[in-house]
């Protein structure tokens, strides 16, 4: 009851209220509303007769509907007359999202407090309720999915079909055509004619980052997601992510993904991907969210972000980077986010084996990592937060380790030298080894120590390479 009261205490006036439920809690609440001059009238009803209730709501001009536990299904059937407030207390298993879907058009404010499962709360420091607090805005869009498109005509159909399979009106699909020359735009156009939610934005070629930024500027939704045009999704993916993120108002929600082999048509779930506690319950601790960034791969397409969070922090993609612009975005946003939640299902299909894919490169294009970490150093170091600097060091270790494992032999020595130099900017040898011990990344010990020996024996400084910046 404290949970509902905390909301009511923040509202000035809720008009005529109807409380559905019975018991001492309801009596207390109606007393509270009447005496607190919050409501102009309070009616209480404990009868579960849908037709009678519907008449009652329509006839007496109710402004606010407040309901107790076990009333969710009945309230779901009542949704016709306009309301100012819908306020309710739900049980853990209640379907709050369809309730919100039913009421979102005719209600100004929706506040649903869902009780957490007792097993989840046992022995852990989490609040008893999770809250969906929603206020109507001018735009009816809740979620914007941004899809940068560049010469991927062969895969677009699959992507479009899988995205639009979820029939929700409050989603927009922003396809940003980055100057494709293979007729990708025409494919999208033909789909857009049958589906109003699809929008095609054409621009001159400027790279993936500029296309994503263009989409971000146009986006209307409260949340934004990014999908690559050659991948496809489970039809329920964005439904599940949005539903999970809204209950609790998380800034970041993510799910697992599968690697899809174009040739064989088989998909393999990517495991060891942090689909676990505390993120399943949802975390509001910045250090936990930050740590997520060192334990997951760069995969921003399986996340949705709260748009207000991105705009408040001025988070965009770095257009100067030739590739991997998602890496700095992931780290910068992850280090600033205050909350995250996880949907433990593998709902995104990431395509492997497309000719011309950036991630497949094994040559000097990998040197772009140094430009990326220079940017991240600039972003993180001035904050003087030792914890973040350490997390960045671990991210560097993982990324360089991954690059070294696949880079061509002839670039190896140079990359190794450069990597070590960059690592030394943020932490010394002892500290780096200690970090591997504490935060993981022990697999990188080998090349890290080797790079130290090489550096010492040569002793000479190599000039920093500018590759990667256009």
């Amino acid at each position: 009851m404290e949970q509902l009261k905390s909301y009511l205490s923040r509202q000035r006036f809720i008009g005529k209220a109807l409380i559905l439920g019975s018991g001492s809690d309801v009596t207390e609440l109606s007393f509270y509303l009447e005496h607190g001059r919050k409501a102009s009238g309070v009616a209480v009803c404990g009868e579960r007769d849908v037709d009678a209730l519907r008449q009652m709501v329509a006839a007496s001009g109710i402004d606010t509907l407040i309901f107790m536990r076990e009333w969710t299904e009945i309230v779901c059937q009542l949704a016709d007359s306009p309301l100012r407030y819908l306020i309710g207390r739900l049980q853990a298993q209640d379907d709050y999202f369809s309730l919100w879907e039913r009421y979102r058009e005719q209600t100004e404010h929706i506040y649903l407090a869902r009780e957490r499962d007792r097993r989840v709360r046992q022995g852990r420091d989490v609040a008893r309720y999770e809250v969906l607090s929603w206020d109507k805005t001018a735009s009816p869009t809740e979620l914007s999915v941004i899809i940068p498109v560049y010469n991927v005509r062969a895969y677009l159909g699959e992507c479009l079909e899988s995205l639009t399979a979820w029939q929700a009106s409050y989603v927009e699909y922003l396809f940003v055509d980055d100057g494709s020359t293979d007729g990708s735009a025409e494919v999208i156009d033909s789909y857009a004619q049958n589906d109003k939610r699809i929008r095609l934005i054409r621009k001159e070629n400027g790279g993936c980052a500029s296309a994503r930024n263009c989409g971000l500027r146009e986006a209307q939704g409260r949340y934004v997601g990014f999908v690559d045009a050659d991948d496809f999704v489970d039809r329920e993916m964005f439904h599940k992510l949005l539903a999970r993120a809204m209950m609790g108002g998380y800034e970041l929600a993510y799910c697992g993904y599968q690697e899809y082999d174009t040739e064989t048509g088989s998909a393999v779930k990517v495991v060891n991907d942090c689909l676990q506690e505390p993120y399943l319950t949802g975390s509001y601790r910045p250090d936990q969210v930050q740590r997520l960034m060192i334990r997951t791969r760069v995969a921003i397409w399986r996340c949705i972000y709260k748009r207000a969070f991105l705009t408040e922090n001025n988070l965009t993609f770095h257009e100067k980077l030739a590739r991997f612009d998602d890496l700095p975005f992931k780290i910068e946003s992850g280090f600033l986010a205050k909350s995250a939640v996880c949907v433990p299902e593998h709902l995104y299909y990431y395509r492997l084996g497309r000719p011309g894919q950036d991630v497949a490169c094994t040559d000097e294009r990998l040197f772009v990592h140094f430009a990326i970490f220079r940017l991240l150093d600039q972003a993180v170091l001035p904050g003087k937060d030792q914890r973040l600097i350490d997390y960045l060091q671990v991210v560097k270790l993982y990324t360089h380790g991954y690059a070294l494992a696949k880079i061509d032999r002839k670039y190896y020595a140079e990359y190794l030298r450069e990597a070590r130099r960059q690592l030394d900017r943020t932490a010394g040898t002892v500290r780096t080894l200690l970090l591997m011990l504490v935060y993981g990344g022990g697999g990188n010990v080998g090349w890290y120590l080797k790079s130290g020996i090489r550096r010492d024996s040569r002793g000479a400084k190599t000039q920093e390479r500018g590759i990667g910046i256009k």
């Binding site: 205490s9 923040r10 509270y32 919050k38 999770e130 108002g249 937060d385 030792q386």
Partner: protein, 356 residues
């Protein structure tokens, strides 16, 4: 008939344009109208003045708005405190807000007492800004034990556990008679000004009443004093010195709660500081902790074993020892080492428990 005002809310406001309205509205929406409000604008440079004046002109009888050059939160509270004309005073920060039946229940409790209390202890609720979730106040369990019903009155001299409450000034409603008798005011130009008054006020107080209503304490925003990582942390040192001197005046019953506050607060401050402040703070705390008599540390260990658990006692003793040690204090220079040490201590504690 004129309303008999019984309680005054003092709200220090510094650049609080975003939250002040909600705070004042939460008072104006009270079920009982016997209150007055003093908004002390502490030299704000934003729209705070406009908001404050607007309220004062709309409710001239109940709301006063005063403006002063910046003196810090304690200075603003003192200014407000001097202007109080009602029998009781309550401090409220400009980003917190009240439960709707606050005034009604506080005054109800006071009216029901045979002899009016000198202090009313309230029970706030923690409100997490981003998730909107509310949680029980940190010491709710203890509160319910000491004050099983609203309006229950205890003597701090007879109930030592009172000192173990969180040291928050906004949860204490003070009788003005009590304030005048003890010549109470806040020490100015210093942050963390709640710490010492908590102990002074309680040890001077003869009748403390508990009412389980309170304000919403906002957490999870990075603009609050408690969330700053810079050099304002250093202000805890003079506060602790003052407290230690006060303990030296022969107040044995205060030693355990005060030591507990000092140690927990120190560790929390160290944890929340940035790299440069951290070193300075640890060195300052090292000097301070060396001054603490060994006897106090022994009392801390003995009492926490008796009132809490052997595990807590061990943790406190080890952490205090480390802070007092010339070399071991280096462990606190770095959050990473501190993390590792605390993990090790917790693990050994668990093993010990299992063996026992």
């Amino acid at each position: 008939m004129k309303t008999e005002y019984a309680i005054t809310f003092v709200i220090p406001a510094y650049n609080a344009e975003k939250t002040l309205g909600r705070t004042v509205d939460s008072i104006l929406g009270q079920t009982d109208g016997r209150y007055r409000i003093i908004i002390v604008d502490d030299g704000s440079v934003d729209q705070t003045a406009g908001i404050g004046q607007k309220y004062a002109s709309r409710y001239p009888d109940q709301i006063r708005y005063v403006c002063q050059t910046n003196k810090g939160q304690s200075g603003a509270r003192n200014t407000g405190l001097r202007m109080v004309e009602t029998a009781y005073v309550s401090f409220l920060d400009s980003d917190d807000w009240l439960m709707t039946d606050y005034v009604e229940r506080i005054l109800g409790g006071i009216a029901g007492a045979e002899e009016p209390p000198e202090m009313v202890m309230t029970l706030p609720v923690i409100y997490h800004e981003q998730s909107h979730a509310v949680r029980d106040w940190y010491d709710k369990e203890l509160f319910v034990q000491i004050f099983p019903v609203d309006g229950h009155i205890v003597k701090p001299a007879a109930e030592e556990r009172l000192y173990q409450f969180e040291v928050n000034i906004c949860r204490k409603v003070l009788s003005m008679e009590f304030v005048r008798r003890t010549h109470f005011s806040f020490r100015e130009k210093i942050k963390w000004e709640d710490v010492c008054p908590h102990f002074y006020l309680l040890s001077e107080c003869h009748r403390c009443m508990g009412v389980s209503v309170g304000f919403y304490y906002r957490v999870g925003e990075s603009t609050q004093t408690t969330a700053q990582t810079g050099s304002s942390r250093m202000d805890i040192l003079p506060v602790f010195e003052e407290l230690l001197a006060y303990l030296g005046e022969g107040r044995e019953e205060l030693v355990f709660p005060a030591m507990r506050v000092i140690l927990r607060f120190s560790l929390w401050c160290i944890r929340m500081s940035d790299r440069q402040t951290r070193k300075k703070l640890v060195d300052g705390l090292y000097v301070f902790f060396r001054k603490i008599p060994n006897r106090y540390i022994r009392i801390l260990r003995r009492e926490s074993k008796r009132q809490y658990s052997a595990m807590d006692a061990l943790q406190y003793a080890l952490l205090a020892a480390a802070l007092r040690h010339r070399i071991c204090r280096f462990l606190f220079y770095d959050y990473l080492l501190q993390d590792i040490c605390e993990k090790v201590i917790k693990k050994t504690g668990k093993v010990q428990n299992r063996v026992a």
